[in-house]
């Protein structure tokens, strides 16, 4: 999978990958085919189609007006942004200062050239975590897992938190995210 995304980011026609032989994955995936290795004809390898998503969405700690973005931790986001035809960044904070790689020594830097759209979305990773800004919302995740057990309760969940809210602000109020952190940390 990584190879297929990387091949997408490199604009390759296909990529040869190790492993996979003898699995049922090959029976169910039209984008994977067994071929003879052209350089070692006695060997069989899997040729995989590149993955080129129409859109990839990343959630950033910070982004600037040019699209330069910093996503939390060490990640493969750059490869994915390049593989996608359009890369959208949602960010906790928009800064006036132009960001560079030096602003992200322990995080992942996405350069403006690989980003198409930036949107400011505070608490945008909820109920998941966002670097050191906020952690997992365990209580909400438990509520989701419980709701996902059955069709009816899952529909109720979607209605309450997705379809039934006007916007992100209303979602945040409904999940009570403002209560998760002390007030001084909210204005990040």
């Amino acid at each position: 999978m990584y190879s297929m995304v990387q091949a997408g980011s490199m604009g390759l026609p296909f990529v040869a990958v190790r492993g996979l032989m003898g699995t049922d994955i090959l029976k169910n995936r039209p984008d994977l085919k067994v071929i003879a290795d052209p350089f070692h004809p006695m060997e069989k390898v899997v040729a995989a189609q590149p993955i080129r998503p129409d859109v990839a969405v990343f959630h950033a700690l910070k982004a600037d007006r040019f699209g330069n973005s910093i996503t939390p931790g060490l990640r493969d986001d750059l490869m994915m942004a390049r593989a996608a035809r359009r890369a959208v960044v949602t960010a906790e904070e928009l800064t006036d200062k132009e960001l560079t790689m030096r602003d992200a020594p322990n995080d992942t830097f996405l350069p403006a050239i690989d980003v198409d759209v930036v949107v400011q979305v505070p608490w945008g990773a909820h109920p998941c975590s966002c670097g050191l800004l906020y952690g997992l919302d365990d209580a909400h995740l438990r509520e989701y897992v419980q709701a996902a057990q059955e069709e009816k309760t899952f529909k109720n969940y979607l209605e309450r938190y997705v379809a039934g809210v006007k916007n992100h602000q209303e979602y945040l109020q409904r999940v009570g995210v403002m209560n998760l952190l002390p007030a001084e940390k909210i204005n990040v």
Partner: protein, 247 residues
Amino acid sequence: MSDQVTVCTPEELMAVIFSREVRDWETIGVGAASPIPAAGCILAEQLKAPHITLIILGSKEYYPFPAGSSELHFLAQRGELDLFFLSGVQMDRHGNINLHVLGDYKSPQMRLPGAYGSAMLYYMAHRVILFRTEHSRRTFVEKVDFVTAAGITPESVYREGGPTKVVTPKAVLSWDGKKGEWALDAVNPGSTVEDIQANTGFTLRLSPMVQMTPPPTEQELSVLRTVVRQKLERIYPEFARTKIRPD
């Protein structure tokens, strides 16, 4: 004294067994959702293998790369990973593992997250140790419902390594490459050959070297419950607090 050391959680026992499989100077990967192998490798580093290169996904301390988890994936694909740990919802006699579905692929009883790199790592890591905390007839089956990664491949397929051991709370199985199947290698404290066979969904041959697993030593348990527990808490807080006892 021996009473005290044999009283440990199944997770602690498995971590100790993993630590004994580690060899010094190896490059070792620990994937997602694998707290027990992580504990075992950190224990080995503390006790007997100070020169290992340890890569634990989700850790800051044990992560030598500048980018994401593709780094571990491609390192293995280059043939540079000595030891890796995999699990599965089912594992079968011939070393196949299933991380995809229970039942029919097209209309499954349960759909699981999928291969997550295992369909390459199982072939390209030099040694792979499988593990499962549930040793039962539904986890160890004659034939998996779906082959996510295969134990055996024909000679025309390039393969660096593959299955070597299975570790559960009851037993250690070892891979018989000639016969292409698992054999019972060691019986863990508190278990018996009969109990293991009764909970395994295929006939287990006894390996010629079959033995009783030596119980965790006082030193192994005390290092596991102090230094290792503390380091693990930064990666798997909930697991470290609930499955590894404070010393």
